[in-house]
Point group: C2
Chain length 154, copies 2
DNA sequence: ATAAAACCTCAACTTCACTTGAGGTAAAGC
DNA sequence: GCTTTACCTCAAGTGAAGTTGAGGTTTTAT
């Protein structure tokens, strides 16, 4: 059966990250721990889910700052419930949909623009930042902003 | 008609970046210029395409180092031809396809995993980095590597 | 009981991708 | 012709996301 209490080393090994990274994440307020009698960190299994989410988010270009804000919707006085994580998941999906749409447009643009060889300064959308590429928004989208843009009901 | 020779300021304004960024990119070997009689930088219109590609690549999490390597397939003794850009574009599309697939799996995973509320340490793919999520590769994919993985013919 | 492994703090260092500033030259506009 | 704007170099600074190291304590294994 899965243990109910974890040490830094165990968490680090399980997640494939350094102990120092766990210290760093804690210092940044992304994860939480309590201390045992000998001042060593102890974690609830919940921390593994948080770290999984952090790593997944980073892969799609979300900053720790934004992840932290997303986590602020989670309760810090009690262990997050299924509903808590579902709400976070829902917000994330909107963001991911946006990112996917961006990449698809970018891919098509490359095919149709670089690939076409037009190299026309006046009509090529790659040359003109206010055209197709620009209207997709500027890169890694804030969770909050993605939410706002989609007009999410709370 | 479009000008054939550009100054730093014009390029910067056109691309929506700082002059200092152009200096930096040049220092990093991402773009090239020649100097006029008064030692000021002059650019071919080609530089706009390079910068567009740099910005697009960064949005999807590609580092300058990787972009530089991708650019190394472009000729530096002559202005890149349509074919040169097409080759680069082809490599990119493979990379983008990979990124898109990653995001789609991540989205579905969030729906089916965080959303489901299973919170099971032993069966949840989010908790187990060697499962579904991990097999997607580790984040921003090298252009070269994306190529290799896809078994691109040269 | 003791040695090895794991943990602690705190400060400093690293890499990436730029930005800022000082001190000076060149080009453009009136 | 002069002044404003644009440009030059070089060095140092910034912020994000950690990593490394020193010096010391706690836990675990034998």
């Amino acid at each position: 059966m899965a243990e109910a209490i974890w040490s830094v080393g165990k968490v680090a090994k399980r997640c494939g990250i350094n102990v120092s990274t766990l210290h760093f994440y804690e210092q940044q307020g992304l994860i939480h721990s309590w201390r045992n009698a000998g001042n060593q960190r102890r974690y609830k299994p919940e921390v593994l889910r948080r770290i999984s989410v952090i790593k997944a988010a980073q892969k799609v270009g979300v900053s720790l700052e934004e992840i932290k804000r997303a986590f602020e919707s989670l309760p810090n006085n009690r262990t997050p419930t299924v509903e808590d994580w579902q709400q976070l998941s829902k917000n994330w999906q909107q963001m991911l949909d946006g990112r996917i749409a961006y990449l698809q447009k970018l891919r098509d643009n490359l095919a149709g623009c670089i690939g076409c060889g037009c190299l026309s300064m006046t009509s090529c959308p790659l040359y003109n930042p206010d055209d197709k590429l620009a209207e997709l928004g500027s890169g890694p989208v804030l969770l909050d902003r993605a939410e706002q843009q989609a007009g999410v009901d709370r």
